[in-house]
Symmetry: C2
Subunit: 398 residues, 2 copies
Amino acid sequence: MIDTAAFLADLDTLRKIGEYKTGVHRPTFSPQDMESRHWLAARMAEVGLEPTIDGIGNVFGRHTGPGPHVLAGSHIESQNYAGWLDGALGVISALALARAGLPVDVCAYCDEEWHFGAGFIGSRSLIGRLSEEEIDASVGTFTGQPLREALEQAGLAGKPRIVIDPARYKGAFEMHIEQGTQLENAGLRVGVVTGIVGIRNYVIEVEGKQDHTGGTTMAERKDALVGAMRILHAIDMEFPRVCGERSVWTAGKLVLDPNAPHIIPGHATINFSFRDIDNAVMDRMAAALERIVQEHNRRDRCPATLQLTARSEPALSDPAMLAALTSAAGELAPGAWQAMPSGAIHDSQHLARVMPVAMLFTPSIGGISHHWTEDTKREDLELGMRVLHEGVSRFLAA
Amino acid sequence: MIDTAAFLADLDTLRKIGEYKTGVHRPTFSPQDMESRHWLAARMAEVGLEPTIDGIGNVFGRHTGPGPHVLAGSHIESQNYAGWLDGALGVISALALARAGLPVDVCAYCDEEWHFGAGFIGSRSLIGRLSEEEIDASVGTFTGQPLREALEQAGLAGKPRIVIDPARYKGAFEMHIEQGTQLENAGLRVGVVTGIVGIRNYVIEVEGKQDHTGGTTMAERKDALVGAMRILHAIDMEFPRVCGERSVWTAGKLVLDPNAPHIIPGHATINFSFRDIDNAVMDRMAAALERIVQEHNRRDRCPATLQLTARSEPALSDPAMLAALTSAAGELAPGAWQAMPSGAIHDSQHLARVMPVAMLFTPSIGGISHHWTEDTKREDLELGMRVLHEGVSRFLAA
């Protein structure tokens, strides 16, 4: 049987590490993050797993008994000043599966939250898709700190990296908060995830000329923010013409140099990304973006460059795992669940390259995510935990 | 006679204080800035002036002989990592006038470069238009540090502030770099300034909702950068319909919160300003800006607020001072000078509230300003110095 009290108690304890208001601040490899990893390794040992913190920061708890095995987990670091459940829920629910006696390897995949390099360094390393060269070249998204230096400070330099053998596993499960309002708006308590969107990340650089705002006439100036704004406006006009029904696109970060009230911006850097469940739709959006930048460079006096910096593929859930979760949800949460795609990307998307995957969602109150006010009702956490346990049990027995 | 060799030597010495590449980094009240103020006070004493560094950071050198007097100077702090002549030229040329025996009070007006509060705290304090309450409320533009704390650290807390008696002066002169390309493009070496533009500064705040970029559908999201971009686009479309021939407008600073690639921006803050020599034109631009924000709030789901944070009035040069500079330029730089407005604002604009003012420009190579590559040919600096000396002499004799 699943011990939901212990599961909730573990979540509450973990919440205290790096506590910030009602959320947490545990950026990857910060002292708070490393404290949480060591705490998790100790909890894994308590439930009978063999814990290891490997050379990229993955916390891996190996089941010592016979299989067939499943892999379960998520991430334990947070976005800056963000929610207490994002990632932690998937790790602690996996720990609860192991405590309940299921043949589960538990993993906290390192840096799903993209504090370093091209993101997902933990899950990619675990499946053998992270090179030493990429680690050499990666730096902190917010800090600029080299990843090697951060690993050194975290006490992880020189430790071996774990690479799993996919043949050991029937599949990988991940429970996560929805990070949206679909469940809440429909009055539902559980989401069985049918697939995960793909994402394409771009950096758009706009080159202007830094100058005094008073001494430079409008005809002379090359204002990089004006250039950036015109590109963003073209996206705002063009993307609705090519997008799919559930496509999303976002410029989340815009950095001006020098960014001072009375200096004409000399340079603008935009981080832009879009997501969809269908690669054909994403190909249309990519082509539109390329045309927008091409046309901008024909017209504007601030030339722009477009670089695709990362790309992940849509991943559909495994039918047998989906069936097990669906039947469990139907029995334990009758009328209170739905099947749905995931608009967010997750470690499961990388694991899907080497084994079957499936995910389960709990509702996010107000849809809030990546902010310290993120939360989920305790009864929904418990219900999700019971559905996950029952689903994994049925899948293993099938 | 004017000693241009000593004038250039002083500029070269001052350039070493806070040197950054070929420019300087002397933000107001930084250790480098305070070193330059104390250095200047010592130079003032050398040329026979009575130096004081007052309670707001003004470095004031009082002529001890009989009048009629003129006031001359500019500012000595720099923008961050900016040019070596911006401000320094006006201060050191004023020092050279005093060395040449003219009855000149020399002043380095503190913080023309707007590192604190509403800017121009030095020249406004000098004419009695800076209240203790405003000092209490002012904070660092880039640092957020309270002005009171910065004054304390600079050793200026509790020192009296100098307020001048306008009756002491026939007028105030300021030499400055052009900060544009008009002189260079016309192949000229001296600009006699007919007037200084007015400027209106605004802060535009756009309120969105911070959320996960994947879990929030396009229909649900409130993206503050999209809202900000739509306002900037409307300005880009509407301002050409209401502007004057020489109007300029700029959004120099845009700050997103939290400004992370995969989080929908929850808040955007824009620093926007415009300039013109004619208040009627600026009134039209102000009305257009208000209409743009009003219409934005009728249409958009991210509401915006518009706040006028500072306003300076256009200031025309004094006819007698202009005539003296014009006749000096005609004699010393025949065919190599022009009369022109100043697109940048200067301390003289504030002094103009209490006495006649005039300014002289030297060319800026490539028009570059507020950047460490800013420069002026040495022969143009010397020529400007000779024209200023001759013009001030003629004005005093008139």
